[in-house]
């Protein structure tokens, strides 16, 4: 019989130690697989389960039972109901049930000045009606659509929160709160100007891009602020565009407001976890400048170099290549976990996470078995 309360206390202490730069009892682990994976692993229909959340409790129970982890696994920020109600174009469900983000343009280049003058007004009046068809119409219908969508979203989050609380109580996971925000430059790119659009803007209108990033920074700070900052919570910031920028554009357009964002959040006493997507090896000296104990989950790059340059100041995570779970043998997968433990665990400041999330499950494929072996290996061999 699991003493879940004792396990939660132990795991909470591990993360408190990790996030404060102390060496924890062992390397904490987070299962890289998502809710999408869990639904497929349970043999259920992906689309149906995301609409009918009542099917998810046994899905999570099996997922938690079969894969060891220190934090609640899965979770989802892309619940389909409110996107459907709003007529979403930036987030849509594919025919296979995955929520996807097509390239969209919410802000036209000639609208930069409007955005810079008041980002939130521009979002409400111009960007959302362009991206969400039900927010573009008669005021009464728009109000009704917004009310229905918010209610649906609130109900869905409440239901998922209930499942999470049950799993935490049963399996003794660390009790961590989270917020989500973006680097201002990435926010300008992702849903507003698009990858293609912002790539042209940095050459054509660099001053406007810089001004837009400054203008939207207060919104990004507010969005990333936890109601009650604590040593057990963190703000998650996925980083997107920097590897696609020239060094000088990164220095002038990306870095200044991103640095201010992280410094402001850290100054409030909350942890920040960066998902350092793609390859940031040419920016390691910049990352070193961020507040001590910034959590950095890397996708690609040289783990040894990162440990050497950042490991005495920041908390390192990621690097484990999930593609190996699909292509490698169980021994190869475990060997890779050992290699990364040997590089990144000494001295603490290491949180085992993979280089990206595992979303797809094939019943006859090796991913589940390989992932289980890796998680168990790190759990058994990550003790300090």
């Amino acid at each position: 019989m699991i003493d879940a309360v004792a396990m939660t206390n132990e795991r909470n202490q591990m993360f408190r130690d990790l996030f404060s730069g102390k060496t924890p009892k062992r390397v904490p682990i987070s299962n890289p697989a998502t809710q999408d994976f869990a639904i497929q692993y349970a043999g259920l229909d992906l689309a149906e389960c995301q609409w009918d959340l009542t099917k998810l409790e046994p899905v999570y129970d099996k997922f938690c039972q079969d894969f060891i982890t220190d934090t609640y696994p899965g979770g989802s920020i892309r619940i389909p109901s409110h996107y459907q109600i709003l007529g979403s174009t930036p987030i849509v469900m594919s025919s296979s049930g995955f929520m996807q983000h097509p390239e969209v343009v919410g802000l036209l280049a000639e609208e930069y000045d409007q955005f810079i003058a008041s980002p939130y007004d521009c979002i409400v009046e111009t960007i959302l009606p362009r991206l969400y068809t039900e927010l573009n119409g008669e005021p009464g219908k728009v109000a009704m659509a917004l009310a229905k969508a918010m209610r649906a979203h609130s109900d869905d989050l409440a239901y998922l929160g209930t499942i999470r609380a049950k799993m935490n109580a049963k399996y003794g996971y660390a009790a961590m709160a989270g917020a989500l925000t973006e680097a201002p430059f990435d926010f300008m790119a992702d849903f507003l100007r698009s990858f293609k659009g912002i790539s042209g803007d940095v050459r054509r209108y660099p001053d406007k891009v810089a001004a837009a990033c400054e203008a939207v920074l207060p919104l990004m700070i507010k969005k990333g602020t936890l109601p009650n900052p604590s040593m057990l919570g963190y703000t998650f910031i996925p980083l997107h565009m920097a590897p696609y920028l020239r060094d000088k554009d990164f220095a002038t357009l990306y870095w200044p407001t991103f640095k201010k964002l992280v410094e402001t959040l850290a100054g409030m006493g909350q942890n920040v976890q960066l998902f350092v997507e793609n390859d940031w090896m040419r920016y390691l000296d910049y990352l070193y400048e961020l507040p001590e104990n910034t959590i950095m989950r890397f996708e690609y790059g040289d783990a040894k170099l990162v440990k050497e340059k950042l490991g005495d100041k920041h908390i390192i995570s990621g690097f484990y290549p999930i593609t190996l779970l699909q292509t490698g043998t169980k021994q190869q997968c475990v060997d890779k976990a050992k290699e990364l433990l040997d590089i990144l665990a000494p001295g603490g400041r290491y949180w085992w996470q993979a280089d990206k999330s595992v979303i797809n499950f094939e019943s006859k494929g090796p991913v589940a078995e390989n992932m289980r072996a890796v998680l168990e290996y790190v759990h058994e061999n990550g003790t300090y």
Binding site: Y120, L128, L180, E182, D190, F191, L192, P218, K223
Partner: protein, 47 residues
Amino acid sequence: MDSKYYVTWEEYLAEHPELEGKPIKAIAPKIEKYEDAVFTFIMDLLL
């Protein structure tokens, strides 16, 4: 944040004189909570 779509409690109170004499300590956190809930919902649509 300077926006016509986001009001602080102080701005809200100034626009609603009918609240004078009401239990402000109970009203303020509720009004602020839903102001922030809409802000978070709106921003999540672009993340």
